[in-house]
């Protein structure tokens, strides 16, 4: 607690300035950087912390990149105070995943700001580099078994000493990486810190150090207080979520990550017990990825109107056993953390938070199904058409699909979930710098998870080598979710489509180019021989005449697709986002010959789909047979619910289907326990569900209301794995635990 209370006007004025300083740092950083992921896809951030590293302001770009700053600063304070010492004008660079940055290609530079001979606060910038040395170019090394194969791993090191760049250290970094433009980015981080510190000094001069400090501390206290109230107003409960990683870079081994989120009163706890042990491959993340990944959806879904700072973390408990995939120990490799373990940690937390929000009448509108759930990117390296060495991390997948909401569709090519300001490169900009020629980049039909509200569509790209004068090119592939989708739907929504990496040979591209013939503009139109690659693949030669194709995961849908407005389905067909066959098979919509919806035929087809559900499904109280239904509950709009259709009837003390009145039992029951269910092939959710890379190991478990056959939930399940369940405990603080009391 700080000594004196600030007046609200000064507090507001300074808080505004602090946010502006953080944004200005980010803009300086991105403007000065020469790193492809950063300048083309904004994969960086900046922030301001207290003297002890407690987060004060998160800049408006990739949230994870800011979340690692407090961790880095804490370690600098711990390790560097005595030797080499922390002095005025110093800056420390670091990319050690056990210190701060999630994986080695993210480099972080933090700088103490001194006032009156003491550290007053810190600034920092962090961002994704185009290379970091190691086994493979581009920062992600595939098929490694320990962290030392992954390239440069800097502990906190004094990059700037008393305002002077240490040339020896700078040169040492450049020596360790393939791309000399990493130097431009390191300088950009320094520039961002310079800008931030200059503005903070002005602020201190204007308001006095004590007032600025009081404001920083007050903002943390304020956020914590706001967040406590928010948590209190949300329903208590336990939500379990699961994700899979479908390849470890060595072999198509499967790994699972699990999360149990418990909300009680004003605390939120994430426990990742049940997650598989760490792997000797690059898919893991350290505790830094665990924390940064978990906090991201907490900020986005629960705190959009609360300043993002340390105060939020104060109410959140994050725990994972030591030595699991998302809390790996030295020397386990982790360069692909952001594509695998860290990203999926974010997805696990997001899926749990979404269910909690959706359950609440007050936050129902804030819930979102999972956005594009992991990165999928081809990376090309070699020498470019201008004679420069390069490694291109192709970032088109940052045009990610947006998760469906409880009241409207997700946004197509919406931008990555974990950044406040998403962006991808223009085709022309990429072709100007890199020896590639794109055949197409488009939104991918049927990649958006079907649902009453559809998930946002992802996209697909294909490119060929071009104009590089015969230099040798190589491709490295990164991705997760090619065999099974990670972008799970919410409450009956299907998952978004899977990722794909395909190399096409023998499609006569060179000949077509030679003759000036039209180039193929779709995967299907490519001809030739398709080689479907795993989501992660080490260096593969990329020869003229070959085509690389990639598509990334779409976003999850919300609610039963059979309840989607048929007009919207046909609009999607006209817009090329849903295929006519999915319109019929998944949505049960029949167009009339004159155009528009054939409503009677649509109703009939939807009834037939429901009847098929009944005939295929088992479980439930009567195994698909007729069940007794009561009165559908009257209270719906402002009530508590635990599925789109399963609502809490406070008067009767039970959960009911609001369509047919079927009872799902007491409040703390998991409705899955009384639901009908069937295991369906992934292809039930559409044509981009990993069909090209199928190994027969996954099913969709579909849960239906035994009364009306509404789709309640759609779970992605490895064959043989038990389902995960969730229970509400009570609607809100103060509400009696009815069910328990009865017992």
């Amino acid at each position: 607690m700080s000594g004196r209370r600030l007046d609200p006007v000064t507090f507001e004025v300074i808080l505004h300035k602090l946010n502006q300083i953080a944004e200005e740092m980010c803009i300086s950083y991105i403007n000065c950087s020469g790193s492809e992921p950063l300048v083309q896809a904004n994969d960086g951030n900046a922030g301001i912390t207290l003297a002890d590293g407690s987060m004060v302001v998160v800049g408006p770009y990739v949230i994870i990149q800011a979340n690692v700053l407090p961790l880095t600063i804490a370690k600098v304070l711990e390790r560097c105070r005595e030797n080499p010492g922390i002095g005025e004008g110093d800056m420390f660079i670091c990319n050690d995943p056990w210190v701060g940055p999630i994986h080695q290609p993210d480099i972080t530079t933090v700088a103490p700001l001194f006032h009156g001979g003491e550290i007053f606060c810190w600034t920092g910038a962090s961002g994704h580099q185009s290379d970091v040395g190691g086994k493979d170019p581009g920062g992600f090394s595939i098929g490694v078994v320990d962290v030392h194969q992954e390239g440069l791993r800097m502990p906190p090191a004094k990059l700037v000493e008393g305002g002077e760049l240490r040339r020896d250290l700078f040169d040492w970094v450049l020596n360790a990486v393939r791309d000399p433009l990493v130097g431009l980015d390191v300088k950009a981080q320094i520039a961002a810190n310079h800008v931030g510190q200059a503005r903070l000094r002005e602020l201190i001069e204007r308001f006095g150090a004590e007032t600025v400090k009081a404001c920083m501390e007050e903002s943390i206290r304020y956020s914590e207080s706001r967040f406590r109230k928010r948590l209190t107003s949300l329903p208590d409960g336990t939500w379990r979520t699961r994700q899979y990683i479908d390849h470890d870079g060595h072999a198509p081994n499967l790994y699972k990550l699990e999360c149990t989120m418990t909300k009680r009163g004003d605390r939120l706890a994430f426990d990742y017990e049940g997650t598989d042990p760490q792997v000797r491959s690059q898919i893991n993340c350290t505790y830094t990825g665990l924390i940064a990944g978990t906090l991201t959806p907490v900020y986005i879904m629960l705190c959009h109107d609360i300043p993002w700072n340390r105060g939020i973390l104060n109410r959140v408990d994050i725990r994972a056993p030591e030595g699991v995939i998302n809390n790996c120990l030295y020397p386990t490799p982790c360069s692909m953390a952001t594509v695998s373990a860290c990203y999926l940690t974010l997805d696990l937390a997001a899926a749990a938070i979404a269910q909690m929000c959706a359950a609440s009448p007050d936050y129902h509108q804030e819930a979102m199904a999972i956005w594009t759930a992991a990165s999928v990117a081809p990376m090309v390296s070699g020498t470019n058409q201008h004679g420069h060495p390069f490694s291109l991390v192709e970032m088109s997948h940052f045009a990610a699909g947006g998760g469906a909401l409880t009241h409207r569709d997700g946004v197509d090519s919406a931008g990555m979930y974990f950044t406040t300001t998403p962006l991808i490169s223009n085709i022309e900009t990429t072709e100007q710098f890199y020896p590639v020629l794109y055949l197409f980049r488009r939104q991918l039909p049927d990649s958006g998870g079907p649902g009453m509200y559809r998930g946002g569509c992802a996209g697909e790209i294909a490119f060929i080598p071009h104009g590089h004068g015969g230099e040798f090119l190589e491709t490295v592939l990164i991705g997760t979710g090619h065999e099974m989708p990670n972008s799970v739907g919410l409450w009956g929504g299907f998952p978004g489509g899977c990722g794909r990496h395909i190399r096409i040979r023998g499609s006569e591209i060179a000949e077509r180019l030679g003759r000036g013939d039209p180039l193929p503009a779709s995967l299907e139109g490519m001809g030739g021989e398709w080689e479907v690659f795993p989501p992660k693949a080490p260096r593969t030669p990329f020869f003229p005449g070959q085509v690389w194709y990639s598509s990334w995961q779409g976003a999850g849908g919300y609610g039963d697709p059979l309840d989607r407005d048929p007009e919207k389905v046909l609009a999607d067909v006209a817009g090329g986002l849903v295929s006519p066959s999915c319109a019929r098979e998944i949505y049960g919509v029949v167009p009339s010959p004159e155009g528009g919806v054939d409503h009677p035929a649509t109703e009939a087809l939807r009834e037939r789909h429901r009847a098929e559900r009944r005939s295929r499904a088992g479980g439930g109280p009567a195994g698909g047979g007729p069940v007794e239904c009561g009165e559908p509950p009257r209270l719906v709009g402002r009530g508590l619910r635990c599925k789109e259709y399963v609502v809490w009837d406070e008067a009767r003390g039970e959960l009911f289907c609001r369509k047919c009145g079927f009872s799902f039992g007491p409040l703390d029951a998991d409705p899955k326990g009384r639901a009908l269910w069937e295991d369906a092939p992934l292809s039930r959710a559409g044509p981009v569900m990993g069909q090209l890379y199928d190994r027969g190991r996954f099913v969709l478990r579909l849960y239906y209301c035994p009364g009306c056959l509404a789709l309640l939930e759609c779970e992605v399940l490895r064959r043989g794995d038990p389902p995960v369940g969730s229970q509400l405990a009570r609607a809100r603080a103060g509400m009696p635990r009815r069910a328990k009391k009865k017992g």
Binding site: P8, E12, H16, K17, Q20, S28, N31, C32, G34, V39, Q40, P60, L165, L184, A188, I190, A191, H194, V195, A198, Y222, I300, M301, H304, D305, W308, Q365, H386, A399, L405, R408, V411, D412, S413, A414, G415, Y417, P422, L423, I424, S425, N426, I427, E428, T429, E431, Q432, F433, L437, Y438, F440, R441, R442, G459, L513, G516, P518, L519, A521, G576
Partner: protein, 713 residues
């Protein structure tokens, strides 16, 4: 409502046989006119309500000056008529544009829908970007079924890999025509390198549908980046037909009423274009550009080279920068979440203005981002608004006289303002202290404005203390005493023409063509290639100006180039000398780039080892127009007593509470008058606040110069 400036010695003559120069600017609420009588050296200002159904009616209404001056008497004797319109902006923002078809390169028709993955939040402030759930893309300007792809491909060098098939081109155009499109946008990959295919498609469209409105991306925005280039072509197609129809209708009406001179239309690049040559997409956001243009002209007249132009409206606060007499161009523009590229005066804005709503958020005093806009408006408007706004705070503190708002035409209800501020802010946060609450609202919003001023200047490597502030917009003069001082400036100029500032910008405008072309290349570039590029750009600019009646000798040419380190995405603009460019001259351009880079990002930030690149080349060609002759007045003494209209209690400081404060009638102040703060100076359309310690003087052009930091005269 009209204002007239009397007396003085005419300095005209440039207007030849004619007598009047007219500027008319259409705003959201009012259409403003400035009429300069070059014979008598008189400047008339007038305002009329904007007429949304047919904007040209408001133009004629504003020309009813009175005293025998009306459209009929003015127009036959007008030698310059310049006009800024919101026609195109309205069409875009209200989605009342044409049904547009787009032709794109095969495989890339979705780029305008993908919006670089950033369209969901493009142009939004931080609070909006942080709240993911409500964000969405705009409804497409071209729905997918109206996008046609043609098999053609050009590479980064401009080489044609796949020639355009004429049959397919015809088929694509024919299909769009069959769909009933009203305009066609053509935007192909790499067309700025090789426009052959785009031109061929335009030929096909012209043949199949003569008179169809067709836009070509390589002509509108020959710059690298297919999304922004396509968006430029699509937006022009979307707003073009209605803009052209509006301009033609206006020209027809003006000519019928006797206008003989060409109609000049103001563009966002800060210059005007003859009506028949207008490029629709360049007229979007021409209003803010006109504000900067007017500021530049006024500042030049007063001898100021560095100016921060600030416009405080009901919902937004806008800042433009004039450095060493020239404004900068924005790299790109975002309107309605679409990012596009045309030469545009760099104006930055935030959602803060008189209508911004103050609210309490658990112990925090928040202002905005929500605004009461015009309806219901601030609580004091009495239209049902219950939330306190910045304007309500101004009323509570006594700055705005409720009976003299807009010159008394719109009486305000002070008790409603007090009630709103008391209930929503004073009680929850200030123990019921109304004055402290209202002062707090002002302080927070003014700090946000000052923050933007500092950001815009400091971020571009300048020191705000080297600038003077130019203040306009309805709420600007009421707030500049605070935000100007907070930003560190010494002087604020409130022009005599502030109420019709954009119209004044129009009347003082030149005909200007700004052309930019991308030609990315590593430094040092081949001098021959650069010379050829500038030669081509300058020839085209001169040709276009000749078509607008400007002879070579009347045209001033300026060159610049945008440079960056290799693989950066952000360029800095650097002036390029006129005359023969050799290796040495280009080397100096590179050196100047590095100097500017370090000025902006700090010593040691430069990194020549990365390599420097030239990306874009720009030529600005200005065909000078006669300027309205403005008359310097002789000083009439320092004592402002003649303008004193009374006293009322006004609060500047919570500790001192309300003090009896002198109120002056701005209209009656004359050159040389000095008003010492605390004081309120009331004009029919705005109120100037001079805080204690500050003082204002009336300059020879009857502008008010407010000395923000006080000091001795």
């Amino acid at each position: 409502m009209t204002r007239e400036e009397r007396g003085g010695r005419p300095t005209g003559g440039a207007f030849g046989q004619t007598r009047f120069a007219v500027g008319v600017d259409v705003g959201g609420t009012f259409t403003d006119a400035v009429v300069v009588d070059t014979e008598r050296g008189i400047l008339h200002q007038s305002k009329a309500p904007t007429t949304p159904a047919d904007l040209s009616q408001g133009v004629f209404d504003a020309l009813e000056i009175g005293n025998g001056l009306s459209a009929e008497t003015l127009l036959p004797r007008t030698g310059k008529f310049a006009h800024g319109t919101t026609q195109s902006s309205n069409a875009l923002l209200m989605r009342r544009g044409a049904k547009v078809g787009l032709i794109a390169t095969r495989g890339f028709g979705d780029q305008i829908l993908i919006m670089r993955g950033g369209g969901r939040v493009a142009g939004m402030g931080l609070p909006e970007r942080r709240h993911f759930a409500p964000t969405r893309k705009p409804d497409p300007l071209v729905p997918r079924p109206l996008i046609r792809e043609v098999a053609e491909r050009v590479d980064y060098k401009g080489a044609i890999l796949t020639p355009l098939d004429p049959q397919e081109a015809r088929r694509a155009v024919r299909e769009l025509l069959d769909e009933g499109v009203e305009a066609i946008a053509i935007a192909l990959l790499w067309s700025f390198r090789n426009p052959a295919h785009e031109r061929a498609l335009r030929g096909v469209a012209a043949e199949l549908s003569p008179g169809m409105y067709v836009t070509v991306s390589s002509e509108l925005a020959p710059v690298i980046g297919e999304y922004e280039r396509t968006a430029t072509a699509v937006i022009d197609a979307y707003v073009g037909p209605s803009t052209v129809a509006y301009v033609q209708r206006l020209v027809g009406r003006l000519q019928a009423a006797g206008l003989r001179c060409p109609l000049l239309i103001l563009q966002a690049g800060g210059g005007a274009s003859r009506a028949e040559r207008v490029v629709s997409v360049r007229t979007i956001e021409s209003g803010p550009a006109a504000g900067v243009l007017a500021s530049q002209y006024l500042a030049e007249r007063l001898g100021f080279r560095n100016v921060i132009a600030t416009d405080v409206g009901g919902t937004t606060f806008k800042v433009g920068l004039i450095v060493d007499g020239a404004w900068a161009y924005a790299r790109e523009t975002v309107v309605g979440q679409y990012t596009y590229r045309v030469p545009m005066v760099d104006v930055t804005s935030i959602g803060a203005g008189g209508g911004s709503i103050a609210w309490v958020d658990e112990g925090r005093l928040r202002i905005g981002p929500h605004s009461a806009a015009a309806d219901p408006g601030p609580a004091c408007y009495g239209r049902g608004g219950e939330e306190p706004t910045v304007t309500d705070a101004d009323v509570v503190l006594g700055y705005i006289d409720p009976d003299y708002f807009l010159g008394g035409r719109m009486p305000l209800q002070a008790p409603l303002a007090e009630e709103a501020v008391r209930r929503r802010v004073a009680l929850p946060l200030f123990g019921g202290d109304l004055a402290r609450a209202a002062l707090g609202i002002r302080q927070v919003v003014n700090a946000q404005m000052a923050d933007l001023i500092r950001k815009v200047t400091v971020e571009r490597g300048h020191d705000p203390r080297d600038f003077v502030l130019m203040v306009y917009g309805g709420a600007g003069p009421t707030h500049c005493s605070l935000y100007g001082r907070e930003a560190g400036l010494a002087r604020a100029i409130i022009p005599f023409t502030a109420p019709v500032h954009s119209a004044f910008g129009a009347v003082s405008s030149d005909v200007r063509i700004t052309l930019e072309r991308s030609d990315p290349q590593a430094a040092p570039p081949q001098p021959g290639r650069v010379r050829r590029l500038y030669r081509e750009l300058e020839r085209e600019a001169l040709d276009r100006l000749r078509a607008q009646g400007k002879r070579r000798g009347e045209v001033e040419l300026r060159r610049s180039a945008s440079l960056r380190y290799r693989r950066q995405m952000h360029e800095l603009s650097v002036p390029v000398p006129r005359g023969q460019l050799d290796g040495r001259a280009l080397g100096r351009v590179v050196a100047e780039f590095e100097r500017r880079y370090e000025a902006r990002y700090g010593r040691g930030a430069a990194y020549r080892e990365a390599g420097v690149e030239f990306i874009g080349f720009k030529v600005e060609a200005t065909g000078r127009e006669a300027k309205p002759p403005l008359v310097r007045r002789r000083p009439g003494g320092a004592d402002p007593r003649r303008a004193l209209k009374g006293q009322r209690p006004v609060c500047f400081d919570a500790a001192q509470g309300y003090r009896r404060t002198r109120i002056y009638e701005g209209e009656r102040l004359v050159t040389g008058n000095i008003v010492r703060g605390p004081a309120i100076i009331e004009h029919p359309s705005t109120t100037v606040v001079a805080a204690p310690g500050q003082w204002a003087e009336v300059d020879p052009y009857r502008d008010l110069v407010l000395h923000l930091r006080g000091g001795r005269r």
